[in-house]
Subunit: 475 residues, 3 copies
């Protein structure tokens, strides 16, 4: 290969140079036909070099450049130095055709039509041998667009086999839904219970120290976690608590998952996820925590389900099982999580819970496949010869999906020391079209029913409908 | 060409490799001597490949890299994958030598010297064949620097001839002044009426769905538009309305322009622009809209001309003619726009208006030329052999310009249901020096006269003077 | 060299292509083994070309790419066009094991454990010949992370020998500590007096017009300065004053430094730094200024030492001597600064002061060396054959350091017109480990004693301890 740079490349390379993969990070039955991940890419230097040796790239005077998985990457031939620049672009638009109201309660912010830049991340990955730094600005986060923040900023050591050790602001993964890249989603949002669980001590841009390891049949990861990036800033970004915090949160995550059955037509995934906040952040008013969730749409609408601030919180924890099964073009998923709130001052514990069941069918294009690095499922794939081209009767990939999701934030509602956060049920149906690997168009319809909660816009229970579209581009 | 990578490049290429254009997006009599645009670049894959075939770049193992128009660009040889990273850097500094005051009214914020990072945009453009995603962070927007936001984030399909279809946050173009790139401006700011008009439903980072098409002699574009990025965020960035919006704005733009006369010495441009807000955003206080404008300088100074919040707004619209004429080194421009405000609740309609006339003369360097893709004029050009080099008596390009601009926000001021927003007249003179294509230094002097308005700092009418410099770098 | 691209590169290049330097910006006894700077890189076109001619890079069809100093750089072969993208990543975590309290005063925000993204800068440098534009977003600034801002955005002319002329938002350098890149620090924070001095009219993202020149034995620089970026924004970022400023600050810096003794074992540095605010920003409440400083840790904790707002400030100035001496692996540094506050309205002047002495010893790795471009010392270096590799008994570089630092903000405390800002003494010890040039891990322990001040959380004098770690990655 040494001399490859100085000879004409083979004809195939000329025709489709970028289809040749630089890495084998997300392999499967049809590698390299699914969207790139929304994360910085961390592989060991050995794997990075090995990938290099396999691919079609040409070494030019000690430097290699290419578009592995579509992501522009520049590196020295030995892979010691590398920079890659990616994109995770997701913009939503839509509204709420109908939301019920009773007894003259406040209408709430349910726009008939509005828009939201849901994620606009540009991952920068810098490598020196087995050390990798990821910095990913996010120009689209927040429930209403208009703020700029950080998705991740961490340092990784990848010198151990199939293992990544991480320190810094990171998204430790718990639950199967959270393990998936947002670029691969069946619906525009995760089920409510998943967001409630992961926000306890994980979520985006969480200060983390820990690691994950994967093998062909199993995945394990555990992280000690602190506050979210910006959490202590009054003008904060994710879930701002303010600058008067006298003791920040600490917590941790643990997840183990496996694939007991793997055949050509079947992938079975089972797992257990758990998360805890050992102590929540303390301010002048003590240690409190608020659970709240939107109706599985994020267009900046009012929250109907919330516990309000729960005071005297000692610990939070959540745990539950993951299950998913692919059979040919069909994928079925279900997860259940229980949330516990231990309180100080002699107050009784609280218990919340939620579950969901989802089913997706890939009408055309390649069906969803399993990623062993993520311990979860990838998006449907579009092979180069399937890319949208109506003149040649090529249409990319299309998936239809349905989901039933329940989150219950009521606990001891008959007692004075109980909490009425409401119970939310969402029926969601979705359509996802991938004209090629790098672009995606989604259309979701949600019907939601929320019982009365501590939210001032939901005093009597409400239900409604939402229609939302998403445009996505990922490199 | 196939073997070009493997032979020494021709001597010319060695001497000035980047002067060779990668694209022919902004052609003219002297192509590639004007500043790059401040926008993400969208061309069809076919054009992108054709441009590639023409230019002097060398294919290396399936990858091409270069600096077309100065903008670093990386792509596969077939142009299927590409990334480019640009820069639109404009910083202003200056102040207000004198601003009149009467009857002890508040002085207002008219600094004798201050500075403002007016635009600091880094356009990232990702391409896969005919699909192009633009994301442009802006580290310099806002009337007082200190906020970071978004200039554009959109997905484009360029597979149809000379046509770009766009969805996402975008700046749909209305009026000839708005059609020009800010890098090409004669003065540091647009005339007041232009900013008043385009803000109705277009402006930066507006959610848009639509398209534009151009030919050698005409240009047409139309977009459905929603809210601006961040508009619903309380800590918003452009024109924040807040998160209590229960119904977002919708609107649209339509512009058609042509070049009836094209000779070596003459370019005549005529056009019609129109814009409307079908409904303005609704909050708890109903549907209201505020017109306001600075005196054609943006150093964070007080606004002297504003209607204050106009309540019960049903629709807004504006329309008017565009005219421009180049004769050799002289460019004359004039536009007039009428703004209509339809109100609900039986309130009578309101009418505002404005116009400007501007003249620019390129003392040395190449004169301004017409861009058919923009339907407007480009900056003066600097050929490589004209670049600033005092030892060889080369001085780049220099333009002098003058402008008379009026905006009138008074309507029915004799009646109780009228609005007194004030009338602002600005006499502006400007000097723009381009040492080369990529750098520009401007010095403007403005004299402004504003009749009394709804602004608390302008109760009796005020006038004043401003001096402002700008440094600009664009790639 | 012309044909180099078309022959196999020499074996050494294959083995370690990026070790070969592209520039010689930061030379020394062991060039290219210290962390890259946190700044945009400005060299003259001539030097840039000369560096190119020396290095091992290979010209490919008119384009060169490489990782000089680890920073990805793309340029035309003649160096006329270039883009580089860097990284300055510093994240802190730790807390305050003990902070004394008396008489029931407010505890203050002294977290037992928290984290802060201290600096997350991505420097973009665009070049056209001798003109260079730097834009550096900062996703980690602020005392509590959660805000995104700007570190620098300036235009430079580098056409004069060993000279850089700059206009725009920039960090003009005063004091030896400030002259160093933050990537090279012995401790996580500068001594308090240095931050107090440089904030008067320099500091990050200060609007600046000026230049610097260096030679082998001396360094000189002077800048006129205005406001900081975002200073006039109410939601500002660095030291927000608000948008009601009617007259912005102006000021200036002057620094001259030299190396009277240079031998293999000894570098002696002497210098004088001075800074002044000719007028401080004026708001509705007049011209006021606040001195405040954290206890040389920046985890968002409460400020114990502050003057509160000093009113009627006419001018501020500071000046003092710099001294540093390297003897083999030992570096000793000391600086003293006096601060003067001239007040209007017949109020007497105020005087503050501070000093520090620091000592660092490089246990293993290459000792700190002098940078003539910065007029200050670089970090310890790690040669390629010293990089962390425990299997081969290689450990990178390790430095131990100690510092004694005093800042005194008391002036005329016996008089009614005096100011009691408090006196702060910090004993700091630190450990810095560099596994290679690009990564660094720090652990600092601080003990601080602060006499009573104008801060509401320090009414009686307090002392305490802090432990903080930092992870750093720089390209």
């Amino acid at each position: 290969r040494q001399r490859a740079a100085f000879l004409p490349p083979p004809p195939l390379l000329q025709a489709m140079p970028a289809i040749a993969p630089l890495t084998i990070r997300r392999p499967g039955a049809h590698p390299q036909d699914t969207p790139p991940s929304d994360r910085g890419i961390v592989t060991s230097w050995r794997d990075f070099r090995a990938a290099t040796a396999q691919d079609e790239e040409v070494s030019v005077g000690g430097i290699k450049i290419g578009f592995p998985n579509g992501r522009p990457t520049f590196k020295t031939s030995d892979g010691a130095y590398a920079l890659s620049i990616g994109l995770a672009f997701q913009e939503d638009f839509g509204g709420f055709p109908s939301v019920s109201r009773r007894n003259g309660e406040d209408r709430g912010n349910f726009n008939s039509f509005t828009s939201n830049s849901r994620r606009l991340r540009i991952p920068f990955t810098f490598r020196y041998k087995d050390w990798v730094a990821n910095v990913t600005p996010d120009f689209g986060h927040g429930n209403n667009d208009g703020q700029v923040g950080l998705y991740e900023a961490n340092i990784n050591y990848a010198g151990l086999h199939n293992t990544v050790l991480t320190v810094g602001y990171f998204q430790p993964r718990v639950t199967e839904e959270d393990a998936e890249s947002s670029n691969d989603f069946m619906f525009v949002e995760r089920p409510a219970i998943i967001d409630l669980v992961r926000t306890i001590a994980a979520n985006d841009a969480r200060f983390s120290v820990g690691g994950m390891h994967y093998a062909d049949r199993w995945w394990i990861g555990s992280y000690f976690t602190g506050q979210e990036w910006g959490n202590r800033n009054e003008r904060g970004y994710y879930a701002s608590i303010g600058d008067n915090i006298t003791d920040s949160q600490t917590g941790g995550t643990f997840r183990v998952a496996g694939r007991p059955i793997v055949t050509k037509d079947v992938d079975m995934h089972v797992g257990i996820s758990s998360i805890a906040s050992f102590k929540v952040a303390k301010s002048a008013t003590g240690r409190s925590y608020t659970f709240a969730q939107r109706p599985e749409i994020n267009l900046g609408e009012s929250i109907l389900m919330t516990t309000g601030a729960i005071n005297n919180v000692a610990q939070l924890w959540s745990a539950g099982p993951e299950f998913a099964l692919r059979w040919k073009r069909l994928l079925v998923k279900a997860e259940y999580y229980r949330i516990g709130v231990e309180r100080s001052g002699g107050l009784p514990s609280l218990g919340f819970q939620g579950w969901y069941g989802a089913v997706g069918y890939t009408l055309f294009g390649n069906p969803r496949r399993y990623s062993i690095q993520e311990g979860g499922f990838l998006a449907p794939g579009v092979s180069p010869d399937q890319e949208f081209d109506p003149l040649h009767d090529r249409w990319g990939a299309l998936e239809i999906a349905a989901r039933y999701s329940v989150a219950d934030l009521n606990s001891r509602i008959g007692d004075a020391d109980g909490i009425r956060g409401g119970q939310q049920t969402v029926w969601a149906t979705g359509l996802s079209w991938y004209p090629n690997r790098y672009f995606k168009f989604m259309l979701d319809y949600n019907h939601f029913i929320v019982s009365r909660s501590s939210a001032t816009v939901n005093l009597y229970g409400r239900n409604g409908d939402a229609v939302v579209g998403r445009i996505q581009s990922t490199f």
